[in-house]
Structure formats: structure tokens, C-alpha cells
Subunit: 116 residues, 2 copies
């Protein structure tokens, strides 16, 4: 059954807190992950929270990549949603590398599967 897109829900644990708290690193990781997925970046938003934490979203021609970080817990919640030929799995090693994640949990959800 054909799906319109692949949506990966990615939990990263055991990450480096300082890196998770860097707005600059979050933006760099989003840009590099977009490229590795073979996706086209349209717009990027990042936001730094006080006292800690960063949110970032890359809107791509193929849907989006998002990240929300909890530096105090070494945790980041990500999702990579692509349609077309982009491969969301290629983005995962980028985030693992930047945030030095020691554990990952990955769930893929097929989006836009029409049963009829």
C-alpha cells in the first residue's frame, strides 16, 4: 500500500548537554541533516529557551525536520518527515554525531496511506 511520506519519530538520550543547548549547533545539524536526506531546505526557525533548551524546525520541500532539546536531561525529541525521494534515515547519524547521543529510539510512521 502506497504511502505519501515517511515520518520518523526519533528519541535521543545520553546527549551532550552543552551541545543540546546551543542554538548554533541545532541550526547547523538541521541544515546538514536536510542535505544528507536529499531534501531541499525552504525555511529554518530556531528558538533558545531560558534557562535552557532549544527548539528548531526546518521546513523542507519534502515536509519538515524538527528538534526540541532538554539539555538538563541529555534528551532531544526529533522528527524527520519526508515525502518523495528524500530518505529520512540519512538524517539520523547527523544528529547522533552533533549531540553525541548514546541511545536512540526510532519509530517510523507511514503517512498518507489511503485504504480505499
Amino acid at each position: 500500500m502506497k504511502a505519501l511520506g515517511k515520518h520518523i519519530i526519533l528519541e535521543l538520550w545520553g546527549c551532550d548537554g552543552d551541545t543540546l543547548d546551543s542554538q548554533e549547533v541545532v541550526e547547523r545539524a538541521l541544515r546538514e541533516a536536510t542535505e544528507k536526506c536529499g531534501a531541499t531546505l525552504l525555511q529554518i526557525i530556531t528558538h533558545k529557551f531560558s534557562p535552557q533548551g532549544v527548539s528548531g524546525v526546518a521546513v523542507i520541500a519534502e515536509s519538515h525536520i524538527s528538534i526540541h532539546t532538554w539539555p538538563e536531561l541529555g534528551y532531544a525529541a526529533l522528527d524527520i518527515f519526508t515525502c518523495g525521494d528524500a530518505d529520512p534515515y540519512q538524517g539520523i547519524p547527523v544528529f547522533k554525531k552533533y549531540f553525541k547521543a548514546s541511545k536512540a529510539n526510532i519509530v517510523e510512521i507511514k503517512r498518507g496511506v489511503n485504504f480505499e
Copy 2:
């Protein structure tokens, strides 16, 4: 077991194509859904595709709300991710109303559940 956030994956089918293709309606729906969820809007991005389709992401203090539309299929792929006291379910009727969806599929994923 305590979770940091609730992430709702929402599939809407049987939607009105013209409305799904309106960048203005997508932005209005994102703003209203943010409010209904009890969330705080930080930044909003929308993008109109040619010949059809709209992507929109609201970055909220509690994470994000995203939508990607396929007007030609009457389909929209959404996710509503909130942490803290915001209630992501309150956003669903907003999108149902604006896009006149006849069918919905809802999956909730708990984010940031630390087993240790």
C-alpha cells in the same frame, strides 16, 4: 511512567481541496489551534507549493504544530507536539473545522519517557 510531552500524529482525509490549498487558512488554523491547545506561539512559517499544497509550522513554547497538505487528495498530514500543561487534543477540532475533514486518524506518542 512520566513523559515530557504528548505528540499527536493526525491524518485528515476527505478535506476541502480549496481550503487545503490556502496559505492564509493554514496560518489561521495554526494560530487558532495553538490558542485552543493553551500553547504560546513563538514563530510561524507557511509555504505555498506550486501547483498545489501548503506546509505550515507553528513553533510554540511547548514544541510545535505542523501541517502539510495535498489538496488534490483531500489529505492533510499534521502533528501536534506539546509539553507542559498544553493539551494537543484541543487543536484537532480546529483543523477538522477549517478543512472540513470527513475522516481522521489519530495516534498519540508519548515523548521523552525515560525508562531508567
